[in-house]
Symmetry: C2
Subunit: 325 residues, 2 copies
């Protein structure tokens, strides 16, 4: 049981590794696999789809290990019944992203769950802390999917200095293996959240075609854009964009976002059909910069196990650089 | 003498800490202070100004510790006599940035110096390796001044995997203290380059006014722009922009770069006068995201000493998280 940190103690998990709640990718199977392996599995309820949530949450009934669910605040705030739906399954953790956490904290704590809030800068971190959250997820722009402008390496220690030592910090964005876990701990985090790496596992809900695409992709193929948000009609707050593998759709619309907005309805129909056909030329395949480090599809349990082993190796290698005088 | 890595062995230095060769900021005094403290001081010859270089290089004569000089390739390639001027002072290392290293390698090696090349992605890293460089500087976009698009956290391990174990890697961009050094080593680097932190030292050539401005600044005040390159008439290759503390000049011209290009001559005169007056509303004050971590002006020797002490503390803390089963 290596890497006992204040995160593992707070959550009663074996390893400081958290599954990113990737919408439509982190379902019950993946969340259970990560939690069973000793990490914390988070289901990705994303923008909130009652049917999808109900189906996946049903898979968590009678599951005994700690697990949780991730919600996007700026959409769920308009349908708070989805929060209560989630809480009715008694998750150990609710991870909130993108929005104002204040209205969510009370109901989650009342249900006996821990509240994690994802933050992207020092101001958001201090606001979340003052709301009484239990955990901070500090996300850098290396991440797949949506993020803001700061990079993980300098952001993690700055948030730590800003919020003090007592609250656990989960580093998200840029972490693809055990070297990343070791580095995140050195920078002042207490654990890591991994998305793209877990998206390319046997249990991920991505199709085999998408997983193979991610195995072949490199960070240089990723771009950050709002084009996929526009075509899907999702009204993201300013300051965020999503990192995705570039494709014909992003090539066509990056730089023409205002035009896309005007013809959203027509293009949206074509886009939706392409998504249903899992068409890689059109559909968004969210991916972080650590896609460089992914060379195969693995069971999630193997990712957890190897990340821990590699982190231990990396940490011991660094401590061996230290020459006692 | 803690943190003995293949970087410290190759360069015969005590500490794996390299001063970024910041143009007009890293002069002889700062380079000597860093080298005397056990790191590697690099003079920032930048775009190449013979008078400035001659004055600062004269300060390195009879200096006994390892030291070096940084050159911007895309400008120095047009005036190779500046490379030979630099080599005549017998630096131990020449650090090359931004351009094709091939024409530089032979003359530098013939002069008995080591060649370091700064790279921003995997393709550049492999190209530099095939040119026969001795060291790679892997720079993330968190850096102050010019950089490309990748972030340090996922880039360092990806470059390490791409170039193999034998070549020393210096992580640049995002490193502001010992936590960053410890993390960089965990990610697969052999040492770090620090710019912004050393720019705010007693020996830096920045004015006291600029240093105070940097102490007060936060990462959220930084922006990346080509506007200062345009007004200075420096023809930067595509794909690079410079991170700077936002000011009236950047506020006015970001988003209007094409217009600035057309009135460059008139605006350039005003800009040059503002620079001579050290006017913070106009002049570029380059700064990396780690400006969040800077709270005072210190002697460079103290930065080196504290970075090492803090890295040791951070590394030992991480290794203490490991619970032996």
């Amino acid at each position: 049981m290596p890497f006992k940190t204040k995160l593992t103690r707070l959550l009663s998990v074996d390893h400081p590794i958290v599954l990113a709640p990737m919408g439509g990718v982190s379902g019950a199977a993946l969340a259970k696999a990560v939690s069973t392996a000793g990490g914390l599995g988070l289901i990705g309820a994303s923008y909130g789809n009652r049917e999808w949530m109900t189906a996946e949450l049903a898979g968590m009934e009678s599951f005994q290990k700690p697990w949780g669910i991730g919600l996007v605040m700026f959409t769920v705030i308009k349908q708070m019944e989805l929060l209560h739906l989630a809480l009715s399954y008694r998750p150990h953790v609710v991870a909130l992203s993108f929005g104002d956490p204040a209205p969510f904290i009370g109901p989650i704590k009342d249900a006996g769950a821990k509240v994690a809030v994802q933050v992207h800068d020092l101001d958001q971190a201090r606001t979340a802390l003052s709301c009484g959250v239990d955990l901070l997820i500090v996300q850098g722009c290396e991440a797949g999917g949506h993020s803001a402008g700061r990079s993980s390496f300098p952001l993690i220690p700055a948030v730590r200095d800003s919020v003090g030592e007592s609250i656990p910090i989960i580093a998200a964005g840029g972490v693809g293996d055990g070297r990343g876990l070791s580095a995140a701990l050195a920078l002042g985090a207490d654990g890591v959240m991994m998305g793209t790496r877990f998206a390319v596992t046997s249990e991920s809900l991505f199709s085999g075609k998408v997983k193979a695409h991610l195995v072949a992709a490199q960070a240089k193929h990723t771009v950050r854009t709002r084009a996929f948000d526009i075509v899907r009609g999702i009204d993201w707050p300013l300051g965020y964009s999503g990192r995705v593998i570039a494709n014909k759709f992003s090539d066509a619309w990056i730089g023409r976002e205002a035009e896309l907005q005007t013809c959203r309805d027509e293009v949206g129909v074509v886009y939706q059909r392409a998504v249903e056909q899992d068409d890689l030329d059109f559909r968004a395949v969210w991916a972080g910069e650590i896609v460089d480090l992914i060379h195969d599809v693995r069971p999630a349990s193997q990712v957890v196990k190897e990340t821990i082993a590699e982190a231990e190796k990396a940490s011991l290698a660094v401590s061996k650089f230290i020459i006692t005088e």
